[in-house]
């Protein structure tokens, strides 16, 4: 018989290198998977992890793809540290995109530098308010925020569908469920000519820095960490757990909403029912892959974006099916969690007869 025993002390060095180990293990196991499919594993891994880095356009796309992941994961990381489990970032992302788009469409063809900031504020407010539903239910009625936030994802998706089939539908669009194309004032400025890199990328980078400061140089960050690690100690030291729960959900909702409006006003340029593509869920992986630390999340977001873009290339260049790419991405989380477990616990053999 085997059982898990907590290790007395986990070395910080080991903790830091486990994500790297997980990535390497994913490459090995993924390589085996690709080999079983009759593909050259080295070529496949190269295509997914290296080739996109060598091509300027792929690099720029990596930044675009990582932006929503990093923004959402940053917001989630505070809650996850404090033990507030917002699983519904996808819904907050949708509501943010929707609220910001509603502003863009209300002022359709009205030029002005004020429009974009207004859209961004509306987006953050949309995401924040959507996250306030689980927050209030949690604080007032002790409703489980995991369930409430998760179920609100589906509500948000259907609400988006109703809006783009109704009030926000393009009047000249043959009844297709999508909005008008945004006009230039409602689009995020592009930073690099010939690419789609938009201002949101810089905002995401700034958010990483801010989060780092907030977490390590501010009382809020200290309280969050305290609440997560020692709730009773936090209570004794005067931390108001309810207040912190609300703030954590507000923060993650706002950042998810921001990611939503950036995606609509950036690369997409119109509201579509296919706005939710899973960033809110993938960001959970990114948050843990990045060890809930802002710098880690930035790196994890980039790695995740890399596997998406490399995965697409591998599909058309090597004919690897999409499902295999998804399994490959799932392995990443699996190995990370496994590595995590083994750094904190060790496997001990239980001898027979000893109780």
């Amino acid at each position: 018989m085997l059982r898990l025993e907590p290790r007395t002390s986990a070395s910080p060095l080991v903790e830091a290198i486990t994500p790297v180990g997980a990535v390497i293990a994913t490459m090995v196991a993924g390589g085996c998977l690709f080999a079983l499919l009759g593909k050259n594993p080295f070529e496949a891994i190269h295509m997914i992890f290296v080739a996109p880095l060598l091509d300027p356009y792929s690099r720029s796309e990596m930044l675009i793809k990582a932006t929503p992941l990093v923004l959402i994961a940053l917001g989630l990381s505070f809650g996850f540290r404090a033990g507030v489990w917002n699983i519904g970032a996808e819904g907050q992302y949708v509501m943010g995109g929707l609220a910001g788009s509603a502003v863009a469409l209300a002022f359709w063809n009205v030029e002005g530098a004020w429009l974009l900031p207004l859209m961004v504020l509306a987006g953050m407010a949309g995401g924040c308010l959507w996250a306030m539903i689980p927050a209030v239910l949690k604080v007032r009625f002790n409703a489980n925020e995991i369930l409430v936030s998760l179920m609100l994802v589906y509500v948000a998706g259907l609400f988006l569908s109703a809006m783009v089939s109704g009030p926000l539908k393009d009047p000249q669009g043959f009844n297709f469920p999508q909005s008008r194309l945004f006009h230039d004032s409602a689009r995020l400025p592009v930073l690099l000519e010939g690419s789609r890199v938009h201002v949101g990328v810089l905002v995401a980078l700034a958010a990483v820095v801010l989060a780092q400061v907030l977490l390590h140089r501010h009382m809020f960050g200290f309280n969050v960490r305290l609440l997560g690690q020692a709730p009773r100690a936090a209570a004794f030291s005067g931390v108001n757990a309810n207040r912190l729960t609300v703030i954590c959900l507000a923060l993650s909702g706002s950042l998810a909403g921001l990611a939503g409006i950036f995606e609509v006003a950036g690369p997409i340029g119109q509201l579509q029912p296919s706005l939710p593509v899973g960033y809110g869920f993938t960001a959970i992986i990114v948050a843990f892959l990045g060890r809930l630390s802002p710098i880690g999340i930035l790196l994890a977001g980039l790695v995740m974006a890399l596997t998406y873009i490399g995965g697409e290339t591998a599909q058309f260049a090597l004919g690897i099916p999409k499902a295999a790419i998804s399994v490959f991405q799932g392995m990443l989380l699996f190995f990370l969690l496994a590595a995590d477990l083994l750094t904190r616990y060790r496997i001990a053999r239980i001898r027979r007869g000893v109780v």
């Binding site: 675009i64 009844n175 950036g266 690369p267 579509q272 593509v277 697409e312």
Partner: protein, 359 residues
């Protein structure tokens, strides 16, 4: 020494000259596809992929095909299209309506690459559009449904209330009505192209409302499975779904993209490709049918085949007057045939269909 030298020469021949010889031959035409669903959806994307496989079978070494599946109609589509263009594809088929803005953008950036957009309406010098006259297929299944229903209630699972779908409903209704004046259509809008759970729910709802024949404009096989379980009839959508409803399937409207893909790739090889707008029907082979079920009486089978042949020959148009709109106002006069522009923008039900189109 000589042995070594010979070996080296042989190796050089294999490596270098071999490659040169290949280059001297015609370079294969590289064809890319981007699909909105998984190729295993047994519906829309599956049929496009069958078209791709037909290209490989027809042209062999002369083509090299590749695809990316399950690409959402949003920010990702533009990147995938661009990467495929950059990777040296000569012609790229974007097989979903929602790729329109993406394919327009990428076509501008790659003027030497040819793009083809299914079901779209924006064209450029290097961007063609294509679609099929599925309403011809709807006419045939409407005839069969009108004859086969006992309850006189036909259930219809709609996707989105866009002209393509409304046209299908109207075509099927007019045909069913022409052979069975008592027929009624019940329409459920699912607001999705592919969601097996939702489609199954829609099918159950329609059956509860008395439908004994189901039609669908969504892509999964869920409704067919439900029809089989409940012992009623249904029609396959996009692909032959007989495996999922051996007793239930009366026939299926099959999207056959192969003839179009083969023709267009041939034109690329010949250097005669140009940006066109194709809307092919039964006559062009783009709309096909699965074998008619032996549950359909012989005279009804005969009737269905006659309609197929007449549409293929161009002597029958499913929208031939007199036809009134739902509100009773006249649309087509006696003998008048609908023009393509009206069909492409169709946003009204014909007289006799109950319910309102969600606006």
């Amino acid at each position: 020494m000589t042995i070594l030298r010979n070996t080296l020469v042989a190796a050089a021949l294999v490596l270098g000259f071999g490659a040169a010889a290949q280059a001297q031959d015609e370079e294969p035409v590289r064809v890319g596809f981007i699909y909105v669903g998984p190729i295993g959806d047994f519906g829309w994307s599956y049929q496009h992929d069958q078209g791709r496989l037909a290209l490989e079978e027809t042209f062999g070494e002369a083509v090299e095909t590749s695809y990316v599946e399950s690409v959402p109609e949003g920010a990702d589509a533009e990147r995938v299209l661009r990467q495929m263009a950059q990777a040296g594809n000569d012609i790229i088929f974007a097989t979903s309506f929602g790729y329109m803005n993406s394919v327009v953008n990428v076509a501008k950036q790659f003027p030497d690459v040819k793009f083809e957009h299914a079901t779209g309406y924006q064209r450029a010098d290097n961007l063609a559009t294509y679609s099929s006259r599925f309403y011809e297929g709807r006419h045939v299944i409407g005839l069969i449904a009108g004859r086969m229903t006992k309850s006189n209630v036909i259930g219809y699972i709609g996707s989105y209330p866009i002209p393509e779908v409304i046209r299908g409903i109207n075509a099927a209704y007019l045909a069913a009505k022409s052979v069975n004046p008592d027929v009624q259509f019940r329409i459920v809008w699912s607001n999705t192209w592919f969601d097996p759970a939702l489609e199954a729910d829609a099918a159950k709802t329609l059956i509860e409302q008395g439908a004994d024949v189901l039609m669908q404009h969504t892509d999964s096989t869920a409704a067919m499975t439900i029809a089989e379980e409940q012992g009623i009839f249904a029609f396959g959508q996009a692909s032959n779904m007989a495996n999922f409803g051996p007793d239930a399937q009366l026939t299926a409207i099959i999207d056959n993209w192969a003839p179009y893909y083969i023709q267009r790739v041939q034109e690329v090889m010949d250097g005669t490709w140009s940006s066109t707008d194709t809307w092919g029907g039964i006559g062009s082979g783009m709309v096909e049918f699965a074998d008619l079920s032996d549950k359909i009486p012989a005279d009804v089978q005969e009737e269905a085949r006659t309609a197929m042949e007449a549409m293929a020959a161009g002597t029958l148009h499913p929208f031939t007057g007199p036809i009134n709109k739902q509100d009773g106002s006249p649309w087509l006069k006696e003998g008048e045939v609908a023009d393509d522009a009206t069909l492409l923008g169709m946003n009204f039900y014909v007289e006799g269909i109950e319910g309102v189109i969600p606006q």
